[in-house]
Symmetry: C2
Subunit: 452 residues, 2 copies
Amino acid sequence: MDMIKPRTLSGFMELLPGKQAQMERMMEILRKTYALYGFAPLDTPIIEDAQILLAKGGGETEKQIYRFAKGDSDLAMRFDLTVPLAKYVALHYNDLAFPFRRYQIGKVYRGERAQRGRFREFYQADIDIVGDGKLDILNEAEIPSIIYQIFKAFGLSRFQIRVNNRKILNGFYAMLSLSERAGDIMRTVDKLDKIGADKVRTILVEDCGISQEDAQEILKFIAISGTNAQVLSALEGYRGRSEIFDLGLDELKAVTENLGAFGVPEENFAVDLTIARGLDYYTGTVYETTLLDHPEIGSVCSGGRYDNLAGYYTDRPLPGVGISIGLTRLFYVLDEQGLLNPEMNSAPADALVIPMTDDRCAAISLAQSLRNQGVRVQVYGEQKKFKQKMSYADKLGVPYAILLGEDEIAAGKCSVKDLRTGVQVTVSAQEAAELILADVKKSGSSAVILEK
Amino acid sequence: MDMIKPRTLSGFMELLPGKQAQMERMMEILRKTYALYGFAPLDTPIIEDAQILLAKGGGETEKQIYRFAKGDSDLAMRFDLTVPLAKYVALHYNDLAFPFRRYQIGKVYRGERAQRGRFREFYQADIDIVGDGKLDILNEAEIPSIIYQIFKAFGLSRFQIRVNNRKILNGFYAMLSLSERAGDIMRTVDKLDKIGADKVRTILVEDCGISQEDAQEILKFIAISGTNAQVLSALEGYRGRSEIFDLGLDELKAVTENLGAFGVPEENFAVDLTIARGLDYYTGTVYETTLLDHPEIGSVCSGGRYDNLAGYYTDRPLPGVGISIGLTRLFYVLDEQGLLNPEMNSAPADALVIPMTDDRCAAISLAQSLRNQGVRVQVYGEQKKFKQKMSYADKLGVPYAILLGEDEIAAGKCSVKDLRTGVQVTVSAQEAAELILADVKKSGSSAVILEK
């Protein structure tokens, strides 16, 4: 037979079973947390009509998209989950209840130049709340609570949800009569962390053509910091000079004042006036989430409020708020940083039943009874030496081996060996299940991420 | 803004939220059941190098595959989960423990001619057990148990796992010196249900050139039926005439004799000599699963034993056994047949908290405390009339509304209204959670499929 060397395309993540188990745990946490907040799971095709995916058109998207013909059809693979959501809501409008809350965890595709840590196929985990005509600010206030619950459940505590409001930024630049140059200014201000205030000032004045005085005002504004109360109080000083600013400030206060009720501790949340999140799409609250000990990773969960989800497909105004987690990239950097918890049980089974007699009927029955009680069990069926059987258990990382020989069968018992400690006890099937499940429950609560 | 009419491509399933919830339940059952048997979850790219996916080449696959160029790359979308598994095992051989047990639930793509009930993008839910050089018959015996547990958990009891062994068929045709014509014969015999014995005989004699005597032998053989014990006993009558037949019979006996230990009732299992499952790939036990009241659907879960998983990528012999559920098609036909349980709670939340005061802080706190206890909760935040709020709850199908007015807040209670019965009680948050969770647990055990 002619053989071809197996390989996986670069830019496509393919995990070994242990790592995959950790990824699955993260997905399970996402599904569970999103569901607790009443989001409906959604699944849309990966392939769509290219005309529909590219309705907005232009720029990087068009270059990166995987697009191809099949018969007469002009097809493309989705590059995010927002465009398919817009299509879905416009298409199924009459069948949906609004506000429509959906989560979607799915693969998206971007044919970017391959480089380390960049993926061409990657998971996004999105939630959106889409209103019909209007959407109350309460929905924007709820988002930090959801982000908080997810990252807590991942095992993190050293993270910060940073929030701003685009109306505050737009209103502030309107005060300075700089609305038309707001885009350039925000792109420059965004570099503050990297290049420092002096260089930002130089660029603002020399490249953006801003006066020294306005540049000073801008730097003073974005330097506002402190506790949330201090920032909000400083912002109050600007009230009354721009209607849009005042509205933004009211919204920001509404988002922050319910944090306690939503169970988000102050230390995991910060009003941050440097957050802008792109230029056109977002119109209200914007969110970024950073790992405090790994600022170099950038935002791991971002999003915001928008006014017009599906303007390319319907003339109904569909405002909404959403966030997205780039799951594949997050998983990749967590792994790179050594933050994935090695103590998490990532074996495919809790116990390996090893029959010690020729007739394996008793071993099968035992395994079946353990499964009925919720224990994940493999029966080792291969005709190998005992040492090889144990070596399989080791390689699998399974925490328990259950040995079933003639003596055990005669006594209606089984020998349960903890492979981490070497301790072996001979107990009934019922006791074995209880013993293993208690341990699984304990290690099941061990987080997928372990902070150092 | 120029608008484009939203649409979803034909042959691509896109479900409304209620139906999607039912699909998700089926996926959860699959994940859970596969995990109980110690299968590791796996996720491979949807796009692979076209050369690798088409290593086997030829036929329908090549015509149906979505294949396209991006830069210098010749890419294709997977058309099943078996070829990617073969690649995975060959590529990661040194990092895997054998027998390697994996499950994968993922989308696959076939650009077939669109027709009702045929999908171009569909989920397959596969398990495989892959051995390194050898694989014990015990693994083949375990498969019916897994199929049984899955369909039971879906809510079905009227189904039958039909099993045969390719060695028995091959051995039988060898006895008649018809090995070379076995393919034609099996294709003909496969039509027995549709065209009847007389027509099968005619085709065998006239088109396949089989003697009247041999045709008679073949019809007699495939007519063997009855209880498993009766079929096995009839097969014993052929023993001693072909080594391969005898081996197949031993394997079939090994598969059937452990059924009881594996917890599979006799009525859900049948030895069926008419099952063949294609011609080349399978070499031992083969499986099909039919719904007894809906034979027209055909097999909903099929698979078998093979000797050489990855011959195109490695010269290591990798025998295995696997089954596959065509999940999208199964879901489609269950829905068409009206078999999806309308009583299953497919709402995205268990309760909708409706704040009756301007300050919504108490409502948010209540929702958060219910979520902490595992209740899926939405807070209704829109400024609408009470009637519209209740109409939203109705449209969502949420079982409980929780009303929180000044009286309730002052008393530290909330009013829980069962929207199906209209019964309303005023209780503490703790009691509300207990009440709702008890109900959720009950309806959570309501099956996704309801037999009529």
